[in-house]
Each structure stands twice: as C-alpha cells, then as structure tokens.
C-alpha cells in the first residue's frame, strides 16, 4: 500500500496525558492520522490503546494535551460532539442495545424522522443497505439481543459505517469474528479508506496489521514508541517495540509422550448446537477444537463442564463414565473451563484477585466453618507469581487490571482447582503478544505435568502451533480429526467450511 503523504491530516493528537487512580494510562502521546490511510495501533494489554481512543471519542477527558480534527480544535468534547464531527468508534466491548431492533440500533442517536415520528421505512431501508454492504443477511427487524455475538459485532460495525464518518476507530473488531467475517470486514475497511476516510485499526493480531495497515503506531506503557510504515517493519520488530525486548511470539512446542486417556466423549448431542460429537483427549496432550464462528465449539465446552445440559452421549473421564449436570460436578470431576466471554463469565470485577483466584476451590481451603485466610493468601501469591500477574497486588480488585492480566487470573483460578482436563475457550482473545506467550507457556506446563487440554481458538496459527491434534467442527458435527503432522491452515479450513468430511 502506498502511504498517502499527499493526503490531508484528518486528525492530530498531541501530548495526550491521562491518568486513572493508581495508573498512568497515557503519557505525552502524539498521534497523527491522514485521510485515506489505515493506521494501526499496537501495544501490550494496558498500553493505553483503548484509553487513547476513548479520549478521541470524547468518552474521557485528557488531563492534558490537544486534539485537532479536520484542522479544528477538539480538545474537550463529549461523545455526541465527537460523533457529529465525524468520529466513528467501534469499541472493544460491544455497544449495542439488546432490546431494540437491529435497524434501531444502527440508527441509534440519529433516527430518521418524519414529522415528530420515527421514519421506520427509511430507517429499515438504510439498515438493509448497510448490512448488505457488509455482506450479511441479518434482518433489520430482529431484536438485537437475539443475535449471536458475531452477528452483533457486524451490527456494531454497520452502525458506525452507516453514519458515514470521517474517522473510524476499530478497537479489536475481529476478536469475536471468524475468518469469513474478517474477510468481509477488511473489504469494507479498504473501501472506506479508498473513499478517503481515516481509519484507526487496533488489534493484537499482527498478521492483520500487516495485511490491512498502512502505518503502524506502537504504544508501550502509555507512551508513544514509534510510528512506521507497515511496509518497512516485520512482525518481530513490532513485537520488540511493543515489549521492549526480543520475544518469540509462540511458546515452543514440547514433544511429550502421550499418557492415559483423560477425556472421551461419545455421541454427544445438544439439539441445534452439536450433533453426535465424539472426541478424546489424553494426558500430556493439547487437543484443538477448530471451526467457524457458530460451529458449536463453545457449546460443547459448556456442556462438558456442566453449564448446559448434555442431551445425549456419554462422557468418560480417566476411564470412568460420569454425568455432569452443573459446574460444581464438573469441578468435582476434575474439569476446568476458561470461558470465552471473560468480562461476562470469567471475572468478578469487584472482588480482589485473591478472591477471584480461589472461588472454585474455596470449599477446599475451608475447615468446618471458616476459610483459612493465611493458606489462601499463600497459594494465591504463589500462583500470581507463577503467572506473572502484573501488578502483583492480589488485594486489588480485578476490574482495574488489564485484559491480559484478567485472563491470567481466570486461568490461574482454574489451575488452582488442579483439574485433570483443562478446557480453554479462546484463551488468548484480546490478549497481547507478551501475555499470550505467557499463557501458552502455562498451558504447556500444565500438559507437561500430565494434564489434558482441550483448546478452542479462532486463531488458526495459534492452534497449529500449540496443539497435538485438532478436531474440526462444521455446523455442530465433527468434520475432521487432524494430527499435528497433517494440520495446515488449508486442511483445517477445508474441513471447517464443510469441504471435507471425516473418514
């Protein structure tokens, strides 16, 4: 891609500083975005990417610094002003209203009017048009809450696109999109860029950055490190700039002798979600579960763990057939599940790291009556050290930690339950490269120590790097079982899209 040096500067942020109690989120950050460029921003969890964008969108006020949009000063504005001045924002968390329809969501805050009333016809027409542009057949009249997460993510994007903004910020838009949706999104982004819109693209997936970005800005610890043309930088260099040191992106795969069968599922079904699923995991083994979004991977994990009911089929754990009807029974049977929706199901925001850590096992560190606080503190501190939770303050409430560190706590919480089977659903979603390496390391250690791992991930390279075997789901059915040796992006994708059926 050619960098539009001839283009006007769409947006300039200078000397932005922002602190939250206890954290310096941004310090003297400069950022300049041109019209018609895709400007990527990368950085570790907590580097300040989202905060910078929220300041741009008027959600936070900077402690100091200037913002200039389209040549005009815009230092202190609110979300509405930001929007009317053409800033479109797709946040890391979905910002949609579940009880309104898709069309109403898309027009939210600026519904077309006829007289004093909402012009529903115009509104639906507009929504249909934008959704068509995004290549999806979501009905504009559907209640938003009835859509799947990836569909909601598309609506979120449609909502911003529909407003025809001059600057669009994508804050990790692909973290809950599958490959197919990602392709569509990239097409949309390219079209927008070609129309002269300035685009800011935040992602932890460096491959995406390399693919779609024109320039990239690296943030580290709330400071601006460097802005470079994407053409002139390699992923390794980017990682080095982000973490300030060399780092191999992936944990080196250990070759371990596989042990006893830890888990075997036979003929597992749940109406409308998955059908006749048979798979197994052995000790020391990391088994991947691949598939397109909506292929039923999460539901299998939930049913295994007892969060949903398994309608048919048997589960055998270490040779024993078990019935698991609740997470409690799941834990008792030696299963742990790191859920995909960290904010919704992983963490208790108001509780401290310590209390989050010991939640599933709290009855194990309790005598007849009381919790052994000393012992609790000890095992928690040890685990926090092992996982490099940063900052290492276990009495701090979990909600003030960055996403990656929250994820480590969720992982640690389940490691403390000493499971024989660890199920991971998108364990590195929204997690930066450094933390991702840490997490892979922890998973590897767990397998090394004799546990079995069932890992769901939408990032194929991650699965390929980490797993010994991969089961591929297609519309709730196991389409293929692929060994490490045979697993390539192509073979997995073919199975996932239904072009290849298991023998």
């Amino acid at each position: 891609m050619t960098v539009g040096t001839t283009h006007e500067v769409a947006l300039r942020m200078t000397g932005i500083t922002k602190s939250f109690p206890g954290v310096m989120a941004l310090q003297d950050v400069d950022l300049e975005i041109n019209e018609g460029e895709v400007h990527a921003i990368v950085g570790e969890n907590g580097a300040g990417k989202s905060t910078l964008m929220k300041i741009l969108a008027g959600f936070y006020q900077p402690d100091s610094g200037e913002i200039e949009v389209g040549g005009r000063n815009a230092s202190h504005w609110n979300p509405r002003e930001a929007r009317t001045r053409g800033i479109g924002m797709i946040y890391q968390e979905l910002n949609l209203v579940p009880d309104l329809t898709v069309a109403e969501n898309i027009s939210l805050g600026a519904m077309p009017k006829r007289g004093p009333f909402v012009d529903y016809r115009a509104m639906n027409a507009k929504a249909s048009a934008v959704l068509r542009e995004l290549d999806t057949d979501i009905d504009p009249g559907t209640r938003l809450g009835d859509l799947s997460i990836s569909q909601q993510q598309l609506v979120e994007i449609a909502k911003v696109v529909a407003r025809e903004p001059n600057v669009v910020v994508f804050d990790e838009p692909t973290s809950s999109l599958g490959d197919k949706e990602t392709r569509v999104l990239f097409k949309v982004i390219t079209t927008m860029r070609d129309r002269g819109i300035a685009i800011i693209y935040i992602s932890h997936r460096l491959r995406e950055v390399m693919e779609i970005g024109d320039r990239v800005t690296v943030l580290r610890d709330g400071r601006h490190v460097e802005t470079r043309d994407v053409l002139g930088i390699t992923p390794d260099e980017m990682v080095r700039l982000m973490v300030g040191r060399d780092l191999s992106e992936m944990f080196p795969k250990l070759d371990l002798e596989l042990g006893q069968q830890v888990l075997s599922i036979e003929g597992a079904s749940r109406e409308g979600q998955f059908d006749n699923v048979t798979l197994d995991v052995r000790a020391h083994e990391i088994v991947g579960l691949a598939g397109l979004v909506g292929s039923g991977r999460t539901e299998i994990a939930r049913a295994l763990f007892g969060l949903d009911r398994l309608e048919q089929g048997t589960i055998t754990l270490s040779g024993e057939t078990v019935k698991i009807r609740s997470p409690r029974q799941g834990v008792a049977a030696g299963i742990a599940l790191v859920p995909e929706d960290r904010k919704g199901q992983g963490i208790i925001p108001g509780l401290s790291v310590r209390e989050n850590f010991t939640l599933p096992v709290i009855t194990r560190i309790t005598n007849a009556l009381l919790i052994f606080l000393g012992r609790e503190r000890k095992i928690v501190t040890e685990m926090a050290d092992r996982l490099k939770v940063n900052p290492p303050q276990v009495e701090r409430p979990l909600n003030v930690f960055s996403g990656g560190n929250q994820q480590k706590v969720v992982l640690g919480k389940w490691l403390l339950s000493k499971p024989s089977l660890l199920i991971l659903d998108e364990p590195t979603r929204g997690v930066d490269v450094g933390a991702k390496a840490d997490i892979h390391h922890i998973i590897g250690e767990f397998a090394q120590a004799g546990g079995g791992v069932l890992m769901i991930s939408s990032e194929l390279p991650e699965l390929l790097a980490v797993c010994d075997r991969i089961f591929v789901l297609h519309e709730g059915i196991v389409a293929a079982e692929i060994s490490r040796a045979d697993a390539t992006e192509e073979s997995v994708m073919r199975a996932a899209t239904g072009q290849e059926v298991a023998a």
Binding site: N95, L147, Q152, K343
Partner: protein, 340 residues
C-alpha cells in the same frame, strides 16, 4: 414480510394475558354478582383506576429507563395537600397547577440524586419517599386539609361519555399519548435504548443521563397530577393519601408486562394492567371478599404472571437449528445487567 420471532410472540402473550384476565374477571363478576356487567360498573372501574393509573403511567417511563421510583406516593400526597392548601390564596386552578408543579419539583430532586449524585434510584427514591411522606405530615400537622370549595373538583368524577368521567378520560388520553411517544418518536425509542443499556446508548450519542432525569421528572409530573386529581375530587388534601398507592401502582405496571430491568414496556400495557387490577378488585369487593383475601389473590396473580413471563421469554427454551440466529435471552450476551 412479517417476521415473527419469539420476542414478538412474547409481547403478544403479554397483551393477550391482559385480555384473558379482563375477560375472566368479567365472566367471574357477571356470574357471581347480579348486575355486574353494566355501564355503571364499567364507569366505576375505569374511574377508580384513574388515580393509581396516573401513578402507574408515570412509573412506566422510569421502569423502561431501567430505574425505579418508590417516592410516587409521597409526591402524590405533597401535590394533594398543596393543591388544597393554596386554593384560598391563589385560586382553585392556579393551586391545582402548583400542586402538579410540586410533583415535578420532587421528581427533579429524584433526578438530581440519581443523575448528578449517582445514588442508586432504589435508595434515592426510598429516601425521598421517607422525606416527603414525613414532610407532608409535618406540614399538615398530620391533619387532612379540607377544601373550602368542595364543589370545584366534583365535575372531575361526573358522568362523561357513558362509561367515563372527565378524569378517567384524561387518563385514557394520557396513556395513548404516552404510547405514541414511546413507540413512534425518536426520543421514545431512545428511552428504551437507555433502559436497555445506558452506556451503549451514551456511546451512540444519546444523553442517557438526560433521559433518566427526564423520566423521573415525568414520574413526578404524573404523581403530581394524580395527587391534584385525587385531592380535587375528594375535596381533601390528605398527607397520607399516597402512602398506600405504591404497591398497587408497581403491581399494575408489572402485570402489564413492563420489566423492572428496563428496556421493555408500554403505557398501553400499563393501562391494561391498571384496568385488569381495578376490575378484579371491584369484582372481589362486590363479592364481599375481605381485603386481605384480595391481597392474597393479587399477590398470587402477580407471582403467576411474572413467572409465566419468565417462562415465555426466559432462557429455558430449547433452540433448534432452524432458528439459530433468533434466540431469546442470549447466554453469552455481552451486556451483563448491573442494576435492577
């Protein structure tokens, strides 16, 4: 093409159940009481529903915005005593206006507490409930005020269009207007958005705090109207008039199908709830059922309807592949609800 999803069927069920209730009450009343099914009964049912109806109408936008207002009864008492107290000083009509204004003012205080001082609405309005109930007693020295012009308010409950009275006609019109506002105008839709997810609404450029504040002021306005109407039609301003009104008002709104969690509801449903409850009360009264037994019936009804609602729109439904994308109550919804 019409798109029927479960939410829509759920909404239908909500409307339907009110009709079923009204019908059941009519049959029950008709069978058990002589001359129950008359225009006079209908007039009396609608008229009796008016005061609690105004309170319930005011409560509806507050609940849609995901908040709660426990202070409606106290606002109503304050409005009532103001209306009667001021009559000799500034005249009947201005006094009625100021009465309503008192409701608006207290509503504004609620709004201030919730929006500016960020006090949870359950706590804030519990406090204003206590404060203004107490103030009403202090101001009147606990004695109900008698109007010096008891005839002035009487036309409010006179015959009007066979089945109505002037005040019940105003109530019906208000309910319809509110329905139009909520369902068909952008500001109405925005209110639903705020109740459904305030932070998402804010990031869409909606002034969520403004809407929440407005809903409290509106609730104050309607409580003011309720108090004004009540005091005029009974020619007395009682400091405890509103004390017993909170529970029937909430019950009526909820029976109508408006959720306490915000984001859903309708003023016509509230109207239905108010009428259904009023009709039931009247039928039971005509049968000489003691008030405590009536309380048992209304309580059971409330629990039953809300449980049904839960089951109809709840998360227990199994989903089929055919309806993949149209599910109710997403389990992985990214919108964990923080408040009631």
């Amino acid at each position: 093409m019409k798109h029927f999803d479960i939410a829509l069927i759920g909404t239908r069920a909500v409307q339907y159940r009110l009709l079923v209730m009204l019908l059941a009450v009519a049959i029950f009343g008709g069978v058990s009481v002589d001359d129950f099914l008359t225009m006079d009964t209908l007039q009396s049912v609608i008229d009796r529903a008016t005061v609690v109806g105004f309170l319930a109408l005011g409560l509806t936008p507050v609940l849609i915005a995901g908040q709660i207002d426990l202070s409606i009864g106290s606002m109503m008492s304050m409005a009532g005593i103001t209306t009667i107290f001021l009559q000799p000083f500034i005249g009947n009509l201005p006094a009625a206006g100021v009465g309503v204004l008192v409701g608006v003012l207290i509503g504004a205080i609620n709004a201030l507490m919730v929006v500016v001082f960020k006090i949870n609405s359950l706590v804030a309005t519990l406090a204003t409930l206590l404060i203004f109930a107490s103030l009403a007693l202090l101001l009147t020295n606990s004695y109900p005020l008698s109007s010096e012009d008891p005839i002035f308010g009487l036309p409010l409950t006179a015959d009007f269009l066979v089945i109505l009275t002037p005040r019940s006609a105003i109530f019906l019109i208000a309910a319809v207007l509110m329905f139009v506002w909520l369902k068909l105008t952008p500001t109405g839709r925005n209110l639903y958005a705020v109740g459904s997810d305030a932070s998402a609404a804010t990031s869409s450029g909606i002034n969520s705090n403004g809407y929440i504040a407005a809903s409290f002021v509106l609730s104050g306005f309607f409580a003011g109207v309720a108090g004004m109407m009540q005091s005029l039609s009974t020619a007395a301003g009682s400091p405890v008039a509103g004390a017993v009104m909170l529970i029937p008002a909430i019950t009526a709104v909820v029976i109508g199908g408006t959720r306490l969690e915000g984001g859903r509801g309708s003023s016509l449903a509230t109207l239905g709830g108010v009428l259904a409850l009023g009709a039931l009360t009247t039928a039971l009264e005509y049968n000489g059922v003691p008030s405590y037994t009536q309380a048992i019936y209304t309580g059971l009804l409330l629990i039953l309807l809300i449980s049904l609602d839960r089951i109809v729109s709840g998360n227990s439904g199994t989903t089929s592949r055919a309806r993949r994308s149209v599910r109710v109550a997403p389990r992985n919804s990214p919108h964990p609800r923080r408040n009631a």
